[in-house]
């Protein structure tokens, strides 16, 4: 049974190449996050926000992704911030539905928003639409990811 992938790429026959998708430049079938188009209003960065909303955006900038040195705002996870009577509401998505850090990260965001001077409490609303894609990463975020060693 040909159940082992030859270790040497030169040893791959045509069949192996097809199975592995090498000729399609697809050696590792993995979710393709690059085909989404950034919505007109996304990535949201808080540009133009004022007062308390500005302050909440600034606080969210300080929250980093658990795996990579990039702000969650630059990663494009924050879809919106509104403040009403001292109550902040943050709309946020995640890159991956199976994210094991979901509660930890959402808790961190809620805490960061609620800690802003003038904010009494904060809610995070988890949203999945539009689905996150690499196009939602800001230019500054792409620089951070490149520095980290990712090709974006």
């Amino acid at each position: 049974m040909s159940s082992e992938i030859p270790p040497d790429p030169k040893g791959l026959d045509e069949f192996d190449r097809e199975v592995l998708g090498l000729d399609d430049g697809l050696a590792c079938p993995y979710p393709d996050y690059s085909d989404g188009s950034a919505e007109a209003s996304l990535p949201a960065t808080g540009k133009g926000a004022e007062g308390l909303e500005r302050a909440v955006w600034d606080a969210l900038y300080a929250v980093e992704d658990p795996e990579m040195p990039i702000s969650i705002v630059d990663l494009g996870l924050i879809y919106g911030v509104t403040v009403e009577n001292g109550h902040a509401t943050v709309d946020m998505t995640l890159t991956y539905t199976g994210c094991p850090a979901r509660e930890m990260l959402l808790d961190e965001v809620e805490t960061a928003a609620a800690a802003v001077d003038g904010i009494d409490d904060a809610d995070v609303r988890l949203v999945w639409s539009p689905p996150w894609s690499i196009e939602m990463v800001t230019e500054a975020g792409k620089d951070s990811l490149r520095e980290f060693g990712l090709s974006v």
């Binding site: 049974m1 040909s2 159940s3 082992e4 992938i5 069949f15 097809e18 199975v19 592995l20 998708g21 079938p29 993995y30 979710p31 393709d32 996050y33 085909d35 989404g36 946020m92 991956y96 539905t97 199976g98 994210c99 509660e103 930890m104 959402l106 808790d107 809620e110 809610d123 995070v124 609303r125 988890l126 949203v127 999945w128 639409s129 539009p130 689905p131 996150w132």
Partner: protein
Amino acid sequence: MATATLGNPPDLSDRERAAIEALLFRLADDEFVAAERYTDWQVRSPTLESDLALSNIAQDELGHARLWYDLLEDFEHTESALIYERAAGEWRHNTMSELPFGEGDWADAVVRTYLYDTAEAIRLEALVESAYPRIRDRVEKVIREEDYHRQHAESWLSRLASDEEGQQRLQSAVDRLLPYGLTIFAPMGDVEADIDDLGLRTETLESMRETWLDTVVPHLEGLGLHVEDAQLPEQYDVHHEAMELPDELGRDGTHTDSWDELLEEFTFAYRDLGRTTTTEIMADPDDVE
């Protein structure tokens, strides 16, 4: 087709709510149980690459199960009641996903993921225009994470089909699993008509089942496998009678004996620790205000 958009959970009529719940239980339970089974292969796959792939597919399916269970929690269900304290006969997943793998039979894992993920793609596509916004809003994210599952299964199908022993193993997996795979499209009862009428999905179960058979049968035959008159079971359509559905359909609460064991296994720690609720770090951000 979806003609009207339904409201938020508190604004739904009893009929709407019942139809949405029936749809969600099926989606969530299928994903959760499939994932629980896939983890049987963790550290036992034939290559490190496929071990990683199947573990990752299991993680994806758990993530998707969580998205669908979140929506059930809108209706006052709790995670502990939904997963750790639900009676065996209250689960609605298809029975293919609960079957134990043939011992050491990688072909079983390959055929099973192929059949399941092909069905999954068809049924998610039918939810893109769902009349229920909270389903519609998450389905694209799920679809995007599903594509490579099929690529993985299809590449292994070709690989195994390329020699005689692989062919035999695939054939026996197909013979065993295909009838159970059909239970993915088994109806839960009268509620199916409501699901269609309300526009919660845009394709009926019967139509999705035909699309699925029209996809998987030619594909398997193209690999040199034999699909014994795999047409519609008699229960659905009288013009073919060769393939019979198993006795356990899953959707109606009937399950194979192996289900009791699997349920026992994944609820063991919860019971052993004497838990009555699952642990939460924070209020669920998914709860509707």
